[in-house]
Symmetry: C2
Subunit: 333 residues, 2 copies
């Protein structure tokens, strides 16, 4: 559990694209961020109050979150100055970078001296059980995609936000480093040991009130041969009551696999539903989330209408038009 609120470190990010994590926190957990801190030459601006470490500390910030990708895979001397000063002032640090904070001797030393915690959210922190497959109380919704990076995290976050707005009981359950940094907790599923994958998902989505929904962040795709095993663990460990099918209609091949075509929504439906029903016989597909960022508004509306007609399920782009109809579909279960 990462202590909130955060100060968001943007470093010397060349552009907004590099600040994906910080943007996610600003958009989905604005209450978690007291402000932002940048280095000279930073090309990203979240529009939050720019603060010094001391100002943010006075405003209550507990954790400095690295909200930006680093260049060249090293933590630069300029970054280190800020990170060490933060530890000296009593901050914890949180990072989803590939190179771990815990592998940096000076950060480890400063954390020990000042009693700070280094959160490397790419590394599992808990001992997970082997999945037992026992039916859990409460309800769960899982986003599954025709490919990787089609909007599964966004869909689950948008549905959770809409459910909160309606006063429904819901929790977004993060399974990747961006989601973990946004919400402060979760399971970095792609870093879990094979035997414990499904068990870590059971652990993440425990028994709950009968009318509570876990919105589980999806990973990979059942059709992506590099990561399908991770997706399978979500489908079985998550015991979903509801699946949302996620799709990006302009992709010419699977992400990173030029020889693999993207399956249709029908193919995804026909593979995912029987697999999910193995762990939860009552599982239903309730809706379709389409990432229409590469379509014009007219194209998007037309594509969504055609998809809805063809599949017999509500089809929406939650970024463009909101997640309301997906939540309606969940609420109707």
């Amino acid at each position: 559990m990462i202590e909130t609120p955060y100060l968001l470190f943007l470093g010397d990010a060349p552009d907004m694209l590099a600040a994906k994590v910080a943007i996610g926190i600003r958009d989905w957990r604005p209450d978690h961020a007291v402000g932002q801190i940048s280095l000279p030459g930073c090309g990203a601006d979240l529009g939050l109050t720019e603060m010094t470490l001391a100002e943010a500390k006075a405003a209550g910030a507990k954790t400095l979150v690295i909200g930006v990708a680093n260049r060249g895979g090293v933590i630069s001397a300029a970054w280190k100055d800020v990170l060490i000063k933060a530890l000296e002032m009593g901050y914890d640090l949180a990072s989803g970078l590939h190179n771990l904070l815990r592998d940096e001797g000076d950060l480890v030393a400063a954390a020990q001296t000042h009693g700070g915690t280094l959160h490397d959210v790419r590394v599992p922190t808990d001992g997970y059980p082997i999945a037992n497959g026992v039916t859990r109380s409460g309800k769960r919704c899982l986003a599954v995609g025709t490919d990787c990076s089609v909007g599964k995290m966004y869909t689950a976050l948008a549905m959770d936000a809409e459910m909160q707005k309606r006063g429904m009981k819901s929790t977004f359950r993060a399974t990747g480093q961006t989601g973990i940094l946004i919400t402060g907790h979760g399971v970095p599923l792609d870093a879990v040991i094979a035997d414990f994958m499904a068990g870590s998902v059971e652990y993440l989505t425990p028994d709950n009130e009968d009318d509570h929904w876990d919105l589980i962040e999806g990973q990979g795709s059942l059709f992506h041969v590099s990561y399908s095993g991770v997706t399978m663990a979500l489908v079985h460990g998550g015991q979903p009551d509801a699946l949302i099918l996620c799709h990006e209609p302009t992709r010419s091949h699977m992400r990173g696999l030029p020889d693999y075509t993207v399956p249709s929504l029908e193919e995804l439906r026909d593979v995912a539903l029987p697999l999910a029903q193995r762990a939860n016989a009552a599982c239903k597909i309730v809706g379709i989330s389409v990432n229409t960022q590469h379509l014009t508004e007219d194209e998007a509306v037309k594509y969504l209408a055609e998809t809805e007609e063809r599949m017999g399920l509500p089809a929406v782009d939650p970024y463009r038009h909101g997640a309301g109809r997906l939540v309606d579909a969940l609420a109707a279960i």
Copy 2:
């Protein structure tokens, strides 16, 4: 790669059941074992020559393999005496035990002093890539099961032995600790980090001659909610040209999951084949391997005949009747 030949350590095994690893080596790689070594009170006997460490060393043994499960999850003082003496005499040690040799300070010290290697085959030794899904040359056969522990390893080993006998080109590819100890190499798939599972299977079954068959050891089951992600990585990372369906007909529920029924062979076929064809469009199901150990000979023959008729595929128990017909089916591809 574990150096052969082995001396097989039986310790104080209470019975033959506890000596599963040693039995596997004796049965499948008899040339790998120069003899056996037991402690007083040992209730297992492989029928190999009982040897002292010195005698086996003189006979060429390079590695002392722990061929037995340990009681209570500790490596006892009586075992330690033999293991340390072996290291002092220049042996390597190999083990598939849950408690690792490398976690025992005295073994580590003796190995360092005498230049020996400690092989803990439950722990991955190589850095595996992320799977790239690129089509590889050569042919691959994967055993998939309706449940865990239905005879997938036995089936692949029996087919490999039959192919060797016929002069066909084949390699058994181990994916679990018993298989790795039997053959001296492999990937302990259940201990691989999630993101690298399918890549480790690609690494294990690389490009090969066009008429060479990898017989890939299966793990788990697509229908076993605890381990299905591991199986999925084999189905996609293995790019099988041929699947063998494995089944144990008397099981009343999935292993370790009392609330889960065992699927039919038809259900396994209908789920496994489309998933496998994602990575290899030419994949076929070529035969059925039934573990009939709990049936009489008459019952077994009747069950196999009925299954063969029903499924339209050769159905055999390779332990009872040999793997010849499964190899015939592979050769006919």
